[in-house]
């Protein structure tokens, strides 16, 4: 199967360009979070986790959004590259979603006094995590026996339907109850981030996380692509071995 040049080139470019910026950005973010940014007056040092928590959340939304768009492209074009792009996006998104679910409780324990509460945003995040965990499970279960194509189609539908479901989940859980702080827009219309350095740190961390996401996504998509090629080569090798197998008599020549 031919590759989609646009996807292939994007992956290659991201893989080549991003490692250094990600490394430097991460170093800068860590320095900013732990030394440069002032400690929040009310919450104390634990508030610093916010600079990783929020960018992770944004990245995971970006990832799941990308997954549903590429899934739609896959259903439309039936090209394996789109499926790989979607799968890589979900895998990367799950990483960030897990980071959100881990950093959240660490902050919540000293501030709210509990590790977890059934608040709108927390519940939505958890349900989102479960939907895309189901996506990965589906991929794992469907395997590659049928060329993975029916599994890929179901997964694509799940990614799209799951994304459509998000507004309903948000709406329902918000109607249910909410206590999560809305940091960026408080009810008085001002920002919860009092010091300009806090805003700068948040922007720096967000940029770092975004390019880290792009890099991880490219790596994931490329490794899936390589998996496909290995499978293709193995198949070709098998056929070759079968064609010439009458005199070699062993299956050693399969790779």
């Amino acid at each position: 199967m031919t590759t989609i040049p646009f996807l292939y080139k994007t992956e290659s470019l991201l893989m080549r360009v991003l490692p250094l910026p990600v490394m430097l950005g991460m170093l800068a973010s860590l320095c900013a979070v732990f030394w440069w940014v002032p400690t929040e007056r009310v919450q104390g040092p634990v508030q610093r986790i916010f600079y990783f928590h929020v960018p992770s959340a944004w990245c995971c939304f970006l990832a799941f959004g990308l997954a549903s768009v590429t899934s739609a492209a896959y259903l439309w074009k039936h090209h394996r590259d789109w499926d790989n792009a979607a799968r890589a996006a979900v895998e990367t998104g799950m990483l960030f979603a897990t980071a959100v679910l881990i950093t959240g409780p660490i902050w919540a324990r000293p501030i709210w006094g509990v590790w977890w509460t059934w608040d709108s945003r927390l519940t939505t995040m958890l349900v989102l995590w479960l939907i895309f965990a189901a996506y990965l499970l589906l991929r794992a279960f469907s395997g590659e026996r049928d060329g993975g194509s029916s599994g890929a189609r179901f997964a694509a539908v799940l990614a799209i339907v799951g994304t459509l479901d998000i507004p309903l989940i948000v709406f329902s859980t918000r109607l249910w109850r909410t206590v999560h702080p809305a940091v960026l827009k408080t009810s008085e219309g001002g920002s919860g981030l009092s010091d300009p350095r806090m805003v700068t740190t948040l922007i720096l961390c967000t940029l770092t996380f975004m390019i880290m996401f792009a890099w991880l996504w490219a790596l994931g998509a490329r490794s899936l692509r390589l998996d496909d090629q290995v499978a293709l080569l193995e198949e070709r090798g098998d056929r070759l071995a079968m064609a010439t197998g009458s005199n070699t008599s062993t299956g050693e020549a399969t790779v």
Binding site: L75, L138, F154, V157, I169, L175
Partner: protein, 219 residues
């Protein structure tokens, strides 16, 4: 489409084991809840709506996959997909069958539910039936869409409930909330946000299923 609908209905009712197993499963869940939550007259009113819906949700989730099991065994699905019938209509036919089965299951479970927990189901029957209907439409829509997953076999039967439940979270919350209002004798809360949510969920998934079936059922 009507032919397919009639055929599926006939098949399901002739065998009937799906309905029977769902019913037993539902009753078992009521039993399990009774013991695990230590129900008594003073907490039953608060907990009963949730119990009813969790029992319905899980029984429906487990049963959802089996609608297509017979199709897989005799390769019937291939024939249906190969027929000139529009796949959207196949989805609608399967959806209606699943919905009817689900409603029948609920009709069987409801008396047991009322009996076990000493709730006067009869006095609020009309609004309660409406909530069950609206909830079931959503459940049947999601279930039918992903039931085809199990046709592939393997560990996929396991994946189905895992896949369905997170998607059904808004439906569960809304249904339980409305049921609580209804069971308290408040009538059907038409203008409520929850009702709108439930209707939105139903509409979204029936349409999404109808559109997506085109892409899913191409084996």
């Amino acid at each position: 489409m009507l032919t397919l609908l009639a055929r599926d209905l006939r098949l399901q009712f002739r065998r009937g084991e799906l309905l029977a197993s769902s019913f037993v499963m539902g009753v078992l869940m009521l039993l399990a809840f009774n013991f695990s939550l230590d129900l008594s007259p003073d907490n039953v009113a608060a907990l009963a709506p949730g119990i009813l819906w969790v029992a319905v949700l899980f029984s429906a989730g487990l049963a959802a996959g089996h609608g297509f099991v017979g199709e897989r065994e005799n390769g019937c699905m291939d024939a249906i997909v190969a027929s000139p019938l529009d796949r959207g209509s196949v989805y609608l036919a399967k959806f209606i069958v699943n919905l009817l089965l689900l409603l029948l299951f609920e009709a069987m479970l409801l008396p047991v539910f009322g009996l076990f927990f000493e709730l006067s189901v009869l006095s609020v029957l009309a609004p309660l039936a409406l909530v069950l209907l609206l909830g079931s439409i959503g459940l049947a829509a999601v279930g039918t869409l992903f039931a085809l997953v199990t046709v592939g076999g393997g560990g996929r039967d396991l994946a189905l409930p895992i896949l369905l439940l997170p998607l059904e979270v808004p439906l569960l919350i809304a249904s339980v909330k409305i049921t609580r209002v209804v069971m308290a004798g408040g009538g059907f809360p038409w203008g409520d946000g929850w009702v709108r949510l439930l209707l939105g969920f139903d509409l979204l998934f029936v349409v999404a299923g109808w559109l997506a079936f085109e892409y899913v059922a191409t084996d």
